[in-house]
Symmetry: C3
Subunit: 667 residues, 3 copies
């Protein structure tokens, strides 16, 4: 439950470092991350290492009793290195080189760069293996940022062929699995298979899915190698990586297998201006608590350990279209919200606004002139508040939200409606759960589901018998399962199953999909659930029930009168199936029924908009992401550890009581 900061001593005169670190300590910060873009400062020319400056900075940190997180500097190979190995640069699908001049210009499959990586990581790890300030490491920085997980160069092409050979063994196995008889795409050997470069029409969906897997695996391998070298130098260090929010191209479960815990970089108002959206003003000021929370819960779940927010937005940021100033209180609110969701450390990015380079319009806790900026005082307050809390165990959740990158990738290649987005769909259900005060783990279908009273599984698009059997066992044993549209459609190679959807899940669901469509926004999209009318969007499936009960049916369109939502009693549990993408009200209705059957405690009414209540280790955080005042009703005798019963807009309270005993309403 402590705070940290990201620091770039190399951007400032060395005379300032001691004062900087002292001020960090005075502010109450306990962790300092450093060095993630510093290669050209650490090795300005080949073999000429300059580690002294970093050691000096570490010494200052050590003197103040703080801990340092070092980063491998591989996200930004220096100019001289690129000049020696021009082939290490990434390429676009059309063959254009991704040049030096910004960051992340290296290819994960470049043999030359792999060697250089080994060299710098080893040198750096050995150099600081015994420094007392170094608590652990971050590998690289934000793998895949700016669309760089997928590269299309010759090294990737060769590595992809090799990856396919390992996966399929025989090229005809690939031909059969993919179905290369379509459009004359048969391969005679693995070398013939190339990355999905520029073509006049779409690529084969099986190629696209395997390329997505291969590209993610390439990053996993690259990361694993770094982790291994770091652990070889000092096995007491923790190793983490800073993931990004709502990031699609990288399987964070796979990457995390070799990590001690996961971290992520949280920029709440930056994410409010996603393309095409017309954001709410409150989103622009503090972000959406569920967009943030879903990422907290994901990165907590990937290792099932408390996580870090490695970069926490400190004020205005440079990269959204509009650089809005966050609301007063936002920087404090975010820190508490993260801790409530299971963060052990929240580290602001950055200590001081940088005078030069691409992020001049990105705030720090200090302004460029060294005076405190807005985030500074909020960080100090949060440090004080969080420091006063008792040590906390991890979070517990009784509901699992299933998430699998293979499904994301398959649907990304074939959305079949402009609005179809895997994250948005997940969010629909996550929001419904959180609006009822329910804690959620975000786990893959292969995780042990027994601990969960209910499981929500949006769009299990690729399903094999194993997953189907595990879900069946779960329900038989009393589990409450909600499956949704577009599930059980494909096999693992991204080919359609030879049976109606939801394929191997059909028995469990007790219904099958007759046909599907993506209704145009101009068309009416209404159904009746439990007697009430609701709106849906993006997707509909006409269902045919077998054992299941139709609990929702269409009111409009060609499928009017046909089932849209079903429920099936199986063993001691139920399997529900929702054949549409529900609107928020419908999602709430379905999820409420699920929770009731599962006996999961939930609020009687949805929480006030933009207000979320989160419990961790017996303490309950009331976080107010709205601008309206809240009234908190703690149970008799419970103490308010932070805040009072009146919580102002963008404020918070911490109550020493379980969530279900705490009442919350907008004034």
């Amino acid at each position: 439950m402590s705070l940290g900061v990201c620091y770039f001593p190399e951007h400032w005169p060395s005379e300032r470092w001691e004062a900087d670190v002292r001020r960090m300590a005075d502010l109450g910060l306990e962790h300092v991350r450093m060095a993630e873009f510093s290669w050209s400062e650490l090795e300005p020319k080949r073999g000429e290492f300059e580690f002294g400056w970093l050691e000096t900075a570490l010494d200052h940190i050590d003197e103040r009793g703080m801990e340092a997180v070092l980063c491998t500097p591989t996200a930004t190979p220096p100019r001289w290195l690129v000049d020696e190995h021009p082939g290490m640069l990434q390429e676009e699908p059309d063959g254009t080189t991704r040049q030096f001049g910004s960051r992340r210009h290296y290819c994960f499959n470049s043999p030359a760069y792999a060697e250089e990586t080994d060299r710098i990581v080893t040198r750096m790890a050995e150099r600081f293996a015994d420094h007392p300030a170094v608590a652990g490491w971050q590998t690289d920085n934000e793998f895949g940022c700016h669309g760089t997980v997928r590269c299309y160069c010759e090294d990737c092409s060769a590595a992809f062929s090799e990856w396919l050979r390992e996966r399929y063994g025989d090229v005809d196995a690939l031909n059969d699995a993919w179905g290369t008889a379509f459009w004359s795409q048969r391969y005679n050997d693995f070398e013939q298979v190339e990355p999905p470069r520029h073509t006049v029409a779409e690529h084969h969906p099986s190629l696209l899915l395997d390329y997505a897997r291969f590209a993610s695996d390439s990053v996993v391998d690259y990361n694993d190698r770094q982790v291994e070298l770091l652990r070889a130098a000092n096995d007491d260090w923790f190793v983490t990586h800073n993931f990004m929010g709502h990031f699609s191209a990288l399987d964070s479960y796979d990457v995390s297998e070799s990590l001690d815990f996961a971290s992520w970089d949280s920029y709440p108002t930056g994410h409010s201006q996603r393309e095409g959206d017309d954001p709410a003003v409150e989103d622009l000021l503090v972000g959406d608590p569920d967009v943030i929370g879903l990422n907290h819960d994901l990165y907590r779940s990937v290792t099932d350990e408390p996580f870090w927010v490695m970069e926490q937005q400190p004020g205005d940021v440079n990269w959204p279209p509009y650089s809005t100033q966050p609301a007063d209180g936002a920087m404090r609110l975010w820190a508490h919200h993260a801790v409530a969701h299971g963060a052990d450390v929240v580290s602001y990015f950055r200590w001081r606004r940088c005078r030069f380079g691409q992020e001049q319009y990105h705030a720090g806790l200090l302004k460029a002139d060294g005076t405190p900026d807005r985030g500074h005082d909020e960080a100090a307050r949060a440090a004080d508040e969080l420091g006063s809390l008792p040590g906390l165990d991890g979070n517990e959740a009784s509901v699992a939200l299933l998430h699998e990158y293979d499904n994301l990738w398959a649907l990304e290649a074939q959305p079949h409606a402009p609005e179809f987005d895997y994250w948005d769909h997940l969010e629909t259900y996550y929001r419904a759960l959180r609006a009822r005060g329910v804690a959620v783990d975000v786990v893959p279908p292969t995780r042990d589901l027994e601990p969960y009273a209910a499981v929500v599984a949006p769009t299990l698009h690729l399903v094999d018998d194993d997953v189907a059997a595990r879900l069946g066992t779960y329900v038989e044993g009393g589990g409450e399962l909600l499956l949704t549209m577009r599930s059980g459609v494909k096999d693992r190679a991204n080919a359609l199953l030879n049976e109606p959807a939801p394929g191997p899940l059909s028995g469990l669901v007790g219904a099958t999909v007759e046909d599907w469509g993506t209704p145009h926004p101009e068309m009416e999209r209404e159904l009746r659930y439990d007697g009430d009318p609701f709106e849906y969007r993006v997707w509909n499936e006409r269902l045919s029930t077998d054992a299941a009960l139709a609990v929702g049916e269409y009111r409009t369109g060609r499928a009017a009168g046909h089932p849209a939502i079903t429920a099936n009693a199986v063993g001691d549990g139920h399997a529900r199936y929702c054949g549409v993408w529900p609107g928020d009200s419908l999602a709430d209705a379905i999820v409420s029924d699920l929770l009731a059957d599962a006996g999961v405690p939930a609020t009687a009414e949805p929480l006030p908009p933009r207000v979320r209540v989160v419990e961790r280790d017996g303490l309950t955080w009331v976080t107010n992401f709205s601008d309206r005042e809240l009234l908190v009703k703690p149970p008799d005798g419970a103490s308010m550890l932070q805040g009072s019963e009146t919580v102002p807009g963008y404020g918070l309270a911490v109550v020493d009581a379980p969530l279900t005993d705490v009442g919350v309403e907008h004034r």
Copy 2:
């Protein structure tokens, strides 16, 4: 008057083929198209031919008394062939290669690919020359799909130089015709002329037009060669090609010269989601009868023979933004509508939804699991209904709509208003004619016009004296001619004429164009025609009358009070000129007057919206593309061959009576 289907035996285990073909026969299908993307299955490695599987499929077809249409598999050269001849791949204007991985990746001007084409076509034609099931051939598949008529590679550059040499003989003839004195573009030899690759500003319009012609000619030559080889193997075969709807880059008249008849691929709801449009719900459910009908009439007119719909949409399709499900009845309605317009065969695409590859989201008559999908039962009903009709002769039309690709290409290069689209403009007049129940041939200006009581000639942009003289003779002889804005502006080299528009047509029109403009949508666009106010759009011309009568004049803008529409009595006929792009009401008014003068029978009022009535060989189809019920009033004693006097939404009726005797109204 029969139905067919497109079948890919290579996508399914051979054990299923016999059952598949039997089910086709049971359904009432009589034609099976195969093999258009099967090269890698027919020749998996160079010289290793595997024709057996196709022969087996043909044997099954023969056994059921059905006919097969085979396709040359040239649209998708296999990977091994591309690896041997990487230079055969197409290139973008910026030099990017159009890679293997989708389809249509070969260049029409690649000498290496021409040789490979000869080889596979010859081998395949000879192999099946005597098979009794093979009735004819489709060359390749959808020439030019995905923007591939125009390639910008070195082979094209060399072929273009040669094409220009043949056309102009001497490079100074080209310099003079094009006007290369502009912007210092003089060429010293033909080799210097390159395809219109990436430049910072627009290309020379004469180069653009000649490149469009050259590219179209390249496809014509490529097709002709295939046709010749096929006929050499068996002269009894018919040869056709499957064109696309509203396709711009290829001159379908030229391609069709060597064909027995034309075919086209009709996807009515796919075309409803054209970019920027906000489609009507009924368009999303069944498409627009005039968009479909214009293509039917075009592809019937190119050879003046009954045509085939080689691919008829069978249900949902994968390529529009939204995959809407067609209305119930749509698949039957489309088959009848096509036959009414002159189709002899309507062939659904495809038999069964493919489990793998790029078209998984494209329906078939069967689902992927082999059970009937929505189109199946509608196809069965249509097969039954069409089979019960008498044999029908071709269609007759008393109005010609003139269409010339040279004009399309010239205007595509210089639209001079964002909304200017040649097809849309044609459609404006086509719709007005069809809304009055009038049959239309879509023919080039060089076709014999004598048979037509009226001729509508939208935008004869490039006009030479010959066309002008032919139109003059037509009107002199009693023809009723409607010319429209942007006519008689350019010579054949795409240079402005040395006289006011409509150039050589001015005498016939009896008026000239003073100036023109494209009014911005913010500006008022009104005129008065025959005393009534109307709206126009996109383009206006201030006319100066000579012999002609001003029948329409502007009410707004700088040209207020000046003539906008004229009529000129010449010999026994009239030449009308419309100097604007009319709104629908104005188009109806102008066309109605034209029809009245020409004595062409037309309905007293426009037909109800989305309802069309089409006569073929004495039978009249009432096709209801609206969701409202229709009332059909047949003449006394006429029998209803299909349907009753009440036609439901998306339904139809066939009346054994001429069109002009059949009344139709929305209930």
Copy 3:
């Protein structure tokens, strides 16, 4: 005060030339510009020069007593020359070649093309050194049109390295100035620095700014060389260049240093359809008087001499999305408006619509068939009217609007709000000044400011102590200065200053910037100034006052109650600071107060919308860019040199009286 025309004899048969020139003379034109795209006509093959045709044309001009402006034909190197030197073509950031086929395809840093340039300029200059008709030259044509100032080829890369070496001397000086410690961007030598080619994220802002400077300097050097060669041939010639309106990539002050005077090409209605705008109908018909006027004033100010409009729109133009026809009277109005702003010559582009090539949809004074088009009669009238005026001295302005391309380039790289555009911001203040009838010079901050009663300095983003000191001295001495948001933020290398904004201007302003933001359009943006409420847009700064008085404060948002606008009395003058981008009403209020303090005469109320009044040498032009009738009230006894007291829509009047004595109102 005379008119001219752009003529292309090479586009027409030589038999027409004499008649053409006679008609020009009859119309009242006195100047003829020729030859700017004629290289392939002057030298059809290497070394085979054909100057005879141009001499013939010049002879005709001489015979009629007119003057010719010749152009170096370097904007369009011919095909044969490109074939000899393919490396001279420009390249895109992704490496794509900018090919032959339009214009401006040469790289300013190509050594080969520099040699060719010297050769053709020298030959041409020597050939016509003694021709009596040649009064002067235009270098090249519209440097940088179509985005060609910045090229990314290898020649540019080498030249950029050299340019940096000259600027920084030592590569570590560059590393320090830019701050290459950011993202590991340290360079070891100048050769390593490349143009900002394709990268996955943004480039370093210091690299971007220096590349913008380098690219502009490359054009300056290229132009200087041509000027030198022309002067060497005949030192009596004037030399000018035709700039473009609102053009960003080229520093017109730098280019103009070697010119006798500047020219620009004015296309008022073309500029009305800028991307994303929804233009007013009147803008489509005559353009915006302030958009035009700002360019007139800029290109007058660059050399502080009367300027030429080298190309004046003659009617419809081809390049905007819609080719609207200008209003009747527009072509006359523009000529007068230009002369009022300080033009000595207004030259219509072009004499006759060209039959061929890329500009067929661009009007001339004659139509393509040689008959007069709309511009012809208006030009005749304007020639007559302007010819009847006395000779006029240059213009005088009491207000300077500061403009610096370095600021434009820095902000273009980091706008930090989608709407942030340097020209728009300048225009906001320019419009406010002109709406009060106030004359404006547009000068760089290094110009002597002493002559100006007031200085408006929008966004002095990069400021060094020297500029700060000069502005301080100006205010101390009684000057009235208005500074605006985003000033004093960066140093000359585009790094943030080590002090709060406005940096070295803080003392003068008496206030500093606490923080800033770009409010999203969904957020309220209101402030109070002088007691009244106003709207602002795009940007806000929370100010902290020191010596200054807060004259405006925020009413909404996080900064509510904090200062937004300040005024500081310094010596005998005042320094105002506006921390927002004002809406039009607020700009008017602030500017009015500034003018009042400066004692600059201004109208009591803003002029009627789209009506502008401009004084030159004691004469006052009333120009009516609205469609409503105006009432002009001249002082007693003043004569109306043109027009009457009632000025129709798009009309004008010239009053022999100073501006401040002339009343104007919409009827």
